[in-house]
């Protein structure tokens, strides 16, 4: 079957072709932002073609240049883009092999490719991709019929190739933020304090006193300060902030910062799974877990550039997809998509829908009103924290029934959250424009089986054989701009369910590892969990309540992805100190093992940070935590040694690994803390106050 991404972009030469300079031009529709996707996809392309890695020309992402694969999200590049590029390259190779065979008067099956050259019986034939390029027309539709390389023939897949994007990042300029254009103007937007706010007045004279040369753009509630230097733009912006007054500013209730407060907001309900359990005398336990709003916390505030010239708009962005950016810009500016070109550049890690879509739209709106001028907008740290979408808070109310033997037979997850991808395809600047009407909500996404997709339901029920499960999701009208954050509801749900499984095991009077293995039939999952118990030294686990704890957790992400088990060892006095983390992962074919380890470990550290430290505080006109002092994350001294083991299952389908380690590590920490304290902290983050409260209660 033809991979869906190839079917959507069937022209073979959009993916691969051979250039006169002796290189193979390869294009992907995926954006690199530090996750190593370009390197891994290039490995797949080079391997299927049998072209040396250093003869690839991986095309810079821009509209018109690369296939349209939508957004680079959901850790799906390896799983979905990988098969497309592999199938395209395998087909290209087969077409060239056929051409070589007809030249040589032999059967294509007699030919092999080495370093881009065709061999027959191990001998050079004098033919290679480049010498045959004139004979093979790649301007044709892919059939998806060529067979992919079997694992034993892979030369590059499965090898830890160094990342292609890393070297420039160690020597200076490397990011979109560093791009300069001739005549570049620097602009800042005076943001509405909240989406409903209207500009009552702006004392422009006061702004000009601060920066005489400033160009002040006012269109309804959209206000921009445009200068020659960034420093002047910052000064003008600061002056404008003091010189503006707004009306209709939202007053955010700080109490909404807490997950439990979600229940007080209007919501829509969706039930799925089995009917409610009837009355029975089975043992029933219940617990509620919470996770607050989280910031993506990208290290660099987002930036973007735009220029409008001769009716054409060019946008430079570090967002998650050039085609979605073009669609967004077209909707907001009213230009036809064909009049917009979008060029991608490297940015700080985004981990989902952070602020990256916004400054390019700010810049585009300014550029349309100042034709000819290249405009750069650099968001401040306060903008990124205060106006970028946040990951939604979640409340997870779980209940379970055990039969007489202590077996888990009935499981209910009742989840309260805002839509996980709510702000996708919107920009914060929109509501400031004249005549703004909110775009209609996107159509309901469906799962492959036709059921309703919701980010809040990912990993909602644990990855074991349980007779009866059901979910009830309450989707809340969000009080704050929220959108996708790495794993959507997957990690928080795994945190809750895998902590709850420990509670269930305790109720059943069983060891948490043995209890899990008792419900886990899948042999690959059992291997992962068993191996984890060995490397973390589960057998040495000591009695509860000593102040030191060891906990573990298991999950198969989205019920179909990588199988991952994590363990944590912690020390808890007034705060949680992470001593060690472990992870064992079976992700099928791993294209770049070192890259996979890097992703898994990064996910573990981020999730440790979510678990122990992070909470977006609401208040004022929206978000109250707008600096790193208000939003602490894990630091070097907080990061423990981490051991990761990858199970080699290269004959299995590859899985994305960017969001599989967070949930299990969060739950492992939760379970380790409960083991250390003899009391459970169910509401994140596990701060000093929450620990004290849990100890008082239990």
């Amino acid at each position: 079957m033809i991979p869906p991404m190839l079917a959507a972009n069937p022209r073979l030469d959009r993916w691969a072709r051979f250039e006169a300079d002796g290189r193979a031009r390869i294009a992907f529709g995926r954006m690199e932002y530090g996750q190593g996707v370009l390197t891994a996809l290039a490995q797949m392309a080079a391997d299927e073609l049998d072209v040396p890695f250093d003869r690839l020309n991986v095309v810079h992402a821009a509209t018109g240049e690369i296939p349209d694969e939508g957004l680079t999200v959901g850790s799906m590049s390896i799983e979905f883009s990988g098969p497309a590029i592999r199938a395209a390259c395998a087909e290209v190779r087969a077409l060239f092999a056929a051409a070589a065979a007809s030249r040589l008067g032999c059967d294509a099956a007699e030919l092999d490719v080495r370093d881009g050259a065709f061999l027959r019986g191990g001998q050079a034939t004098g033919l290679d991709y480049w010498s045959l390029a004139g004979e093979v027309d790649l301007a044709r539709e892919a059939t998806g019929d060529a067979s992919l390389k079997a694992p034993e023939r892979m030369r590059l897949m499965g090898r830890s190739e160094p990342r292609m994007d890393l070297p420039p990042k160690l020597f200076g300029a490397a990011f979109l933020h560093d791009l300069t254009l001739p005549g570049l103007r620097h602009a800042r937007v005076l943001r509405q304090p909240s989406p409903q706010a209207r500009l009552r007045s702006l004392d422009e004279a006061a702004v000009r006193r601060a920066v005489p040369e400033v160009d002040i753009l006012v269109d309804h509630a959209f206000v921009a300060l445009i200068c020659d230097t960034e420093a002047d733009a910052a000064r003008a912006h600061a002056a404008a902030e003091a010189a503006a007054s707004w009306e209709g500013v939202r007053a955010m209730d700080p109490a909404l910062s807490e997950a439990a407060a979600l229940k007080t907001l209007p919501h829509e309900d969706f039930a799925a799974g089995a009917a409610k359990p009837g009355p029975s005398n089975r043992r029933r336990i219940a617990a509620a877990y919470g996770k607050p709003f989280l910031s993506h916390g990208s290290l660099g505030p987002s930036a973007g550039l735009a220029q409008y010239k001769d009716g054409r708009l060019t946008i430079w962005t570090h967002n998650q997809g050039v085609y979605p950016m073009r669609a967004l810009a077209a909707r907001i500016t009213g230009l036809a998509p064909e009049a917009i070109e979008v060029i991608h550049g490297q940015g700080p890690g985004c981990y989902g829908h952070n602020g990256a879509d916004d400054p390019p739209i700010d810049a585009a709106l300014i550029a349309m009103r100042r034709p000819g001028q290249p405009i750069r907008v650099q968001w401040r740290r306060e903008d990124e924290f205060g106006f970028a979408p946040v990951g939604t808070a979640m409340l997870m109310e779980l209940s379970a029934e055990l039969d007489a033997s202590g077996r888990l037979v009935d499981y209910t997850a009742e989840i309260w959250n805002t839509p996980h991808t709510g702000a996708r395809g919107t920009a914060v600047a929109e509501s400031a424009l004249p005549g703004y009407v909110a775009p209609p909500p996107p159509p309901q996404r469906l799962m492959p089986d036709g059921s309703r997709f919701s980010g809040g339901l990912l990993n909602a029920t644990p990855s074991y054989a349980i007779e009866t499960t059901r979910t009830l999701e309450h989707v809340i009208e969000t009080p704050i701009r929220s959108s996708s954050l790495r794993s959507l509801g997957g990690a928080p749900n795994t945190f809750a369910s895998e902590c709850f499984v420990d509670e269930i095991a305790e109720a059943a009077g069983q060891d948490p590892l043995a209890y899990r293995l008792g419900m886990l039939a899948e042999p690959r999952g059992r291997t992962v969990l068993t191996r984890l118990s060995e490397i973390c030294g589960w057998a040495r686990r000591w009695e509860i309540g000593t102040g030191r704890g060891l906990g573990l957790a298991y999950d198969r992400h989205r019920g179909r992805g990588a199988m991952v088990a994590c363990a944590a060892e912690v020390d808890v006095e007034t705060e949680v100190k992470l001593l060690n983390l472990w992870c064992v992962c079976d992700g099928g074919l791993i294209v770049n093992p070192d890259g996979a380890r890097n992703q898994i470990e990064g996910g573990m550290i981020m999730a440790g940070s979510w678990t122990l430290k992070e909470q977006v505080k609401l208040g004022g006109a929206g978000i109250a935590s707008t600096t790193w002092d208000d939003y602490p994350i894990l630091r070097f001294s907080d990061v423990p040694p981490i051991e990761i083991e990858l199970i080699d299952t290269r004959d299995q389908r590859p899985c994305g690994l960017g969001e599989v380690s967070q949930g299990p590590v969060m739950a492992a920490i939760g379970n380790a803390v409960a083991h250390a304290l003899g009391a459970r902290v169910r509401d994140l983050p596990m701060t000093r106050e929450k620990i004290a409260a849990a100890l008082l209660k239990d």
Binding site: G34, P167, F171, A174, E230, L299, G300, R381, N598, W628
Partner: protein, 160 residues
Amino acid sequence: MRQTIQFTLNGLTTSVEAEESDLLLDVLRGQLGLFGARFGCGAGQCGACAVLVDGKVAAACHTEIGALAGKRIVTVEGLGTPEAPHPLQAAFLELQAGQCGYCLSGILIGAKALLDGNPDPTRAEIARALDWHLCRCGVHNRVMDAVALAAARMREGAGA
């Protein structure tokens, strides 16, 4: 009032015309066109803009240019080049210590300051020296390993 301010930048005598209160980060990324020091917070809270001033780590986003007359400033561009990398840069590449890389120039500067004063730091000392620097991608362990590797190489080099 604009004035001429002179200092040493990555070993070269440099002078700029600027307001005394202009921030070093804006001057570096603006008129000097050096983009290694990165904007992360503008408030001294993240370490992305770190540079060395007379050998000490400083937040370029919080340092006024007027205070730098006659000082020696080093940015990540002064450490090494792709052709002749500093041992730290070589070790970061070797261990693939980075994801998005936005934090790395600041971290390299912090690590250089550490190794200048302590050629054989423990893991805890490395962590403490880098604690000001935030990394959101979670490459902390690789970074600490790379700093230790560079330190070992530099000790060997110094002894040879």
